[in-house]
Symmetry: C2
């Protein structure tokens, strides 16, 4: 059995990049980080827990990827440039057959984003992966949830619902053709954080949130903090490829109340409509205008004929629902 | 049952201090933090897990205190000024009778240190408390483990061994008079991070580490990173009040190999001996010179007559030992 120090040395200790912001990495009491000049730090923490966010037999490469991706998604939603992260890992045992692919999934995404693991903690316990990411953003360009204005357009990146659809198939609640299940499962297990889009939206978007618990629920948080209402045009929702094969009721239900999408839901002034489209192209990310913000409160989902769509908000809550997502 | 959002709002959401470094706190995708001008950030993560670091019936106020204290101890060992922290909390249920005292223990220490909770994550799962602290330190004054020099004196703050003694009494391995057990238990459950001493040692000490897994083991890490050996004078070890009541063998064993002390073990040039004593007085922290650093490797523990003391290194490792500490 590997000791804690051997485990860290073998799988997680890498020298900080010469000239990079991390001046002292894994292996001291603290990591030391050179913060960017004149910018704010953006900090976020997210934990994945076995039995809650994934099953015991989950692919460890995917887990390494996803644990970092969901944190990067929070930085993306603030328009922040990722810098580095810490990892607190609770493991039932030090199994190389798990640690090797887990660390590969983690570092492949970290390397793709140019960020470094700067420190962490490894303990024996029920499997839990807790990551804290640090990024930076100029203070005037941070995409806070409270920044939306009445008259802003409502946008969403990428597509919605495939991750939730994959989960329901894995739970034997639905069926799906193998090629579509493969696509949908990829959305569930390897979400792509929209970091490039978040950066491209600096100076354009007024507010953003990442969609992790379902569009209606997360949009609701943004509306609460901006003290606004939104009208959402259901006909314009960008469904995932797999979800597009389902009935219209299923499409609405999973696109509106699904979860695990890790897309950016954001507001931008109507006169920046073309600038948003350009930002999407610069960041090679699909962007779709799906509604608008108004004074008042609540979310009105309607089709293009103005008929209200009933889609009760069932955003996921960790303490009032039981199913593994 | 409280929802995740209600739970966070009731127990963990406080407005950032006006004019403080946290510009946006709990409740957005990221926290936003104004980093200190011209200093490095010091970042550390530590997790406490039920069954590993504490028992299921542990006092929640103490847990809130200790989860933050062990992280602050890492900042202290870098000579860093604490700024803020994030909390990732996995909870079996949202029990107000646990959350209320837990949050009080956490915030009492946070307030005493003038730092703010800036963000976090709450999930249902086996009880685990993961905290990431952020502090700052001028780059030339960071107390890295690698900074010790041959000829430096070896110092320790406070006293050693009482926390481990309390643990062994709680495990029915030893007995102790009630008043001494109370003192020792306080060391185990409410460790005091040596932040003030760490700051006072800036520009004086060359290297530091906090003693969490036992003096010999943690000193060993410092020696490895500084490529040095140390001679440790056993007669000079500052035993805790409770430990002082035990046999000499027990005193040595628990002071050298105990754990959970959260004292600072540090090196300073011999010509700064008085400056270290002054730093201890400024920070109202006991400091004791217990040895010296030399070229070579290993730790030589001896009494004042030069007789070697046998005290094999049994520093705690989370993956090769089983007992709850």
């Amino acid at each position: 059995m590997l000791s804690e120090f051997q485990l860290i040395a073998r799988y997680f200790k890498r020298s900080p990049r010469a000239g990079g912001p991390v001046q002292l990495g894994v292996g001291d009491d603290c990591a030391l980080l050179q913060p960017p000049n004149g910018e704010l730090l953006a900090v976020s923490t997210d934990t994945l827990i076995e039995g809650r966010h994934f099953f015991a037999d989950a692919n460890p490469y995917d887990l390494g990827h996803k644990a970092l991706a969901v944190n990067l998604s929070d930085l993306a939603a603030m328009g922040a440039q990722p810098i580095s992260f810490t990892l607190a890992l609770a493991l039932p045992s030090s199994d190389p057959n798990w640690l090797q692919p887990f660390s590969e999934g983690l570092f492949h995404l970290a390397d793709a984003q140019g960020i470094e693991l700067m420190g962490g903690d490894t303990t024996r316990g029920p499997l839990a992966i807790s990551i804290t990411v640090i990024g930076s953003v100029p203070s005037t360009q941070a995409l806070k949830r409270s920044g939306a204005q009445a008259g802003d357009e409502l946008w969403i990146s990428g597509t919605l619902g495939d991750a939730r659809l994959a989960l329901e198939v894995l739970h034997n609640k639905r069926t799906l053709a193998p090629d579509l299940l493969r696509k949908a499962s990829n959305r569930l297990h390897r979400p792509l954080p929209r970091v490039a889009l978040g950066l491209a939206l600096r100076g354009i978007a007024n507010a953003a949130i990442d969609v992790s618990d379902g569009l209606l629920g997360d949009l609701g948080h943004l509306l609460t903090q901006s003290s606004l209402s939104a009208t959402l045009f259901a006909d314009d929702l960008p469904f995932g490829d797999a979800l597009a094969s389902q009935t219209i009721d299923t499409r609405y239900a999973l696109a509106l109340n699904g979860g695990d999408d890790y897309e950016l839901c954001f507001s931008a002034p109507a006169d920046k409509h073309q600038a948003v489209i350009d930002a999407g192209q610069r960041s090679q990310t699909q962007v779709t205008c799906i509604g608008q913000f108004s004074k008042g409160s609540g979310i009105h989902v309607q089709d293009h004929q103005g008929n209200l769509i009933s889609a009760a908000n069932h955003s996921f809550d960790h303490f009032t629902q039981n199913s593994t997502t």
